[in-house]
């Protein structure tokens, strides 16, 4: 019921937001003053180098990818191609590329640029983060290993026709929309000083990068979407400090700010600021992963007991300040395979005790819980669960680690339990494959989950060509996962962006709210930077 209310409220907010944006005619001109909230700087001017969201934020202005994320419909859409045909086995994609996409030096993009960009990303000596996506093209890993110079799965039919063969049946739209797979100009990008003033295919041209302070862009007049972008200029300031962003936003120096839970409460309570909040259920699932190598966690009843023993709703309300949606299973609210009728584990300590007794732990047990200081999915949350778990006899020993070390600890399997926020979309199949027994821990099966029935559902879903049937299989897999409880399903992130009343066209991007299609944004005449 609560979940339905939440989903309804979200839908209502989004609908109201969309209606508001549509009510006015977009205005041309002015400056958009955006913020990159995930650090004090951008890594570099080379979008292939960094996989951080911080860098994708500027990547969306400068570059275009083969696909883009259609935030309103929650699925990928073609960007640099006009159409695509898919082979019957679902592995070969033939793209009719745009013939009106011009790089910022005025040169027309061709299939060669895409082939060169993808080949560059697979350079084994550079370890570009986008390689994990391009590796799904046949022959890409040969380039990475140095046994081939060209990706055999990429064929140029003519300047504007490209054939791409994948290693397995998949929708490449889900992994070729990231800025780490940006299309760069093949010839120009090889110049030694190219990245001092890079060019791309995006809606905005690079003007300057003052490291640690700002990146400035100006409108690309020949952008392939007619009439776009609307703004003349875009300034993106890296601002990692939430408190500083708060002051700058209230002082009208920036147009958007991503809010933390403390600010979320304050902004919601403010009659003016509360009018400019965009809330989205992002594709991140906060969870406590349980290592089956630790004996108690090898028993499903113990894992279920943990889910019953923790009052997740209370923690979300009091600690996370309602800046999260209660998790049901792995797939988030925005997933098409999310079952709206499914109910989360209820808070039921008695049932938890009963399950523990059945599993042979009537007096409970003690385990070590690895956690970072993160306020939304770290030690503060673990500390809140300690008395709840103690009620059913489970003792928790907190093992603190630094955020940058957590991934290494988990990949090594050096934990009994951990708490983390993991991506659970946008592709539901890819997200659920993380729990397939053939997926190694180092890829994303962190709890080394193994269940034959689950594997079959995922295998069947992978092979299924009918979208509706595939969705049903994924729903079943997600339900099975909930029952098996390899993790404590805590919450789905509710990303909140505060925006100024003069900024329009924001998109509810569930993959990451801070990533916006700048060509759709516009500022009205009331903006201090309207001129």
């Amino acid at each position: 019921m609560l979940l339905k209310k939440l989903a309804f409220a979200t839908a209502l907010t989004l609908a109201a937001f969309t209606v508001q944006a549509q009510a006015q005619e977009p205005r041309h001109g002015g400056t958009i003053r955006f913020t990159a909230p995930y650090g004090a700087s951008f890594v570099s001017n080379d979008s292939h180098v960094s996989n951080q969201i911080q860098d994708e934020i500027y990547g969306y202005a400068l570059h275009s990818m083969l696909y883009k994320w259609d935030a309103k419909n929650g699925k990928p859409a073609l960007d640099l191609a006009k159409s695509v045909t898919v082979s019957p086995d679902g592995k070969t994609y033939t793209y009719k590329l745009r013939d009106d996409a011009l790089f910022h030096n005025g040169r027309k993009m061709t299939a060669d640029d895409i082939i060169w960009s993808y080949t560059r990303i697979m350079d084994g000596s550079k370890n570009y983060p986008g390689a994990r996506y391009i590796a799904r093209i046949v022959g890409a890993t040969d380039v990475q290993k140095g046994t081939a110079k060209e990706i055999s799965g990429l064929k140029k039919i003519d300047d504007f026709t490209l054939e791409m063969t994948l290693t397995d049946k998949a929708d490449p739209g889900y992994f070729l929309f990231q800025a780490t797979t940006a299309i760069m100009p093949a010839k120009e990008a090889q110049a030694p000083d190219f990245f001092n003033k890079p060019i791309g295919l995006g809606p905005f041209k690079f003007v300057e990068h003052v490291p640690g302070s700002r990146m400035v862009f100006e409108k690309w007049e020949k952008y392939y979407q007619p009439g776009k972008p609307y703004a003349d200029k875009l300034v993106i300031s890296p601002m990692g400090e939430a408190a500083a962003r708060d002051v700058a936003f209230r002082n009208k120096e920036i147009d958007v700010s991503i809010l933390g839970s403390t600010q979320y409460v304050a902004y919601k309570a403010d009659p003016n600021l509360s009018k400019g909040l965009l809330e989205v259920a992002e594709v991140f699932t906060r969870n406590m992963g349980m290592n089956p190598a630790f004996k108690p966690f090898s028993d499903k009843r113990v894992r279920q007991a943990i889910n019953y023993a923790i009052d997740s709703d209370l923690i979300i309300k009091r600690l996370v300040r309602d800046k999260a949606y209660r998790a049901v299973s792995w797939l988030p609210l925005s997933s098409p395979a999310f079952d709206k009728n499914a109910k989360p584990y209820a808070y039921d300590p008695e049932k938890a005790k009963k399950l523990l007794a059945e599993a042979g732990y009537p007096d409970g047990f003690e385990f070590e819980w690895t956690a970072t200081p993160n306020e939304s999915w770290g030690i503060p949350i673990v500390e809140a669960t300690i008395p709840m778990l103690a009620k059913v006899g489970i003792k928790v020993k907190v093992k603190p680690v630094e955020t940058s070390a957590l991934g290494g600890v988990i990949v090594k399997g050096d934990f009994q339990a951990y708490i983390w926020s993991n991506t659970s979309g946008p592709d539901s199949l890819t997200a659920l494959k993380c729990f397939h027994s053939s997926t190694p821990r180092s890829s994303c099966n962190y709890t080394t989950f193994k269940n034959a029935a689950y594997d079959k559902l995922i295998d069947d879903a992978s092979a299924e060509t009918d979208a509706a049937k595939q969705l049903e299989l994924l729903k079943k897999a997600n339900a099975l996962l909930q029952d098996e409880a390899p993790v404590w399903f805590f919450n789905y992130n509710k990303a909140v962006m505060a925006y100024q009343p003069w900024l329009h066209g924001l998109q509810p991007n569930a993959t990451e709210l801070a990533l916006q299609r700048y060509e759709d944004l516009w500022v009205d005449a009331t903006s201090p930077a309207a001129k």
């Binding site: 700087s41 990692g240 408190a243 002051v247 120096e253 991140f284 991934g407 290494g408 926020s421 993991n422």
Partner: protein
């Protein structure tokens, strides 16, 4: 003077080497590395093969002594290596951040000296008066206030409420942008300088040579100008040197808060992502700055007070 300066610079070499060794060992033993830090956002799964390839690429699989030898070898040729994150030379990254950091450090110290030293002198001239009380309350508060909190207060007061200054950013040569970060960074050295100046003036005012000067009929201004101020200045200068040297390191918090594009914000991001070459480079630069400033202050002290010899 030149042999003295050369000798002091040579003495700085073992200090720099010790610092380099310390940072190197520290970042080799703490958990996590660049490859695993990429997974921190829970969004990017990096398989074991990629982690191994990255560690190989960055030489992290080499034995520690070999890595240190390579690093010191690079230092000898002013090569700080390449950043793991950006794949660019560390010297270049530091180069583009150094000037904004120096601007901020100089502005902060200018504020500290212009306000702090006269405040200390004033307080010492009328000990126990309301001027003394007020300036010392100000000094103690300045020393106790956390820089982050003070920065936020300044933002709220002068940017949000009064609208006099922008709350963040570097600007395009507009001096208004540096005012708030410089004040936030300068208040702590200001407080220390005020206290030091007060103590130094009080001490010198009770010295025999001051009493003699007064007994000889020298006027108050002459006594203060030629006897008290010059002698007290040596002590103030030494404190100033220590503060100036360390202000670059202290700027980390302020730079991050005000989105000031200096070494501090580069250092913070590099620590987060375990970009060890950049961390090492930044810390070495800060240490080098500290040493150079202190040598310069020693020289300056000798200029102010001829009794100090270059020995």
């Amino acid at each position: 003077m030149l042999p003295y300066v050369s000798r002091r610079l040579l003495q700085a070499v073992p200090i720099l080497l010790a610092v380099a060794a310390l940072i190197f060992v520290l970042f080799s033993v703490i958990p996590g590395n660049f490859a695993t830090s990429q997974m921190a956002d829970g969004r990017s799964n990096i398989d074991a093969e990629t982690i191994a390839r990255m560690n190989e690429q960055f030489g992290l699989n080499d034995p520690l002594p070999l890595r240190f030898a390579k690093y010191v070898g690079g230092l000898a040729t002013f090569d700080l290596g390449d950043s793991f994150r950006t794949r660019q030379p560390v010297t270049g990254l530091i180069g583009e951040r150094l000037w904004p950091s120096l601007q901020l450090a100089f502005a902060a110290m200018l504020f500290a000296v212009v306000v702090g030293v006269p405040l200390g002198f004033l307080a010492a001239l009328k000990p126990g008066s309301w001027v003394d009380m007020l300036s010392m309350v100000f000094a103690v508060s300045g020393l106790s206030l956390p820089m982050f909190w003070l920065g936020l207060l300044l933002m709220y007061a002068f940017a949000l409420t009064l609208g006099w200054f922008p709350s963040f950013g570097y600007g395009d040569g507009d001096p208004r942008y540096i005012v708030l970060p410089a004040i936030a960074l300068g208040v702590s050295p200001l407080a220390l300088l005020a206290r030091t100046a007060r103590a130094a003036v009080l001490e010198v005012m009770h010295a025999d040579f001051v009493r003699t000067a007064r007994a000889k009929g020298a006027g108050s201004y002459r006594v203060m100008r030629w006897h008290v101020a010059r002698n007290a200045l040596v002590i103030v200068l030494t404190t100033l040197g220590l503060q100036f040297g360390s202000v670059l390191g202290q700027a980390v918090v302020v730079e991050k808060l005000f989105a000031w594009p200096g070494l501090g914000s580069l250092l913070v991001d590099s620590v987060t992502w375990r970009d060890i070459p950049v961390v090492q480079g930044c810390i070495l630069t800060i240490v080098l700055f500290f040493l150079v400033v202190n040598i310069a202050v020693d020289v300056l002290c000798a200029v102010v007070d001829p009794r100090i010899k270059y020995s």
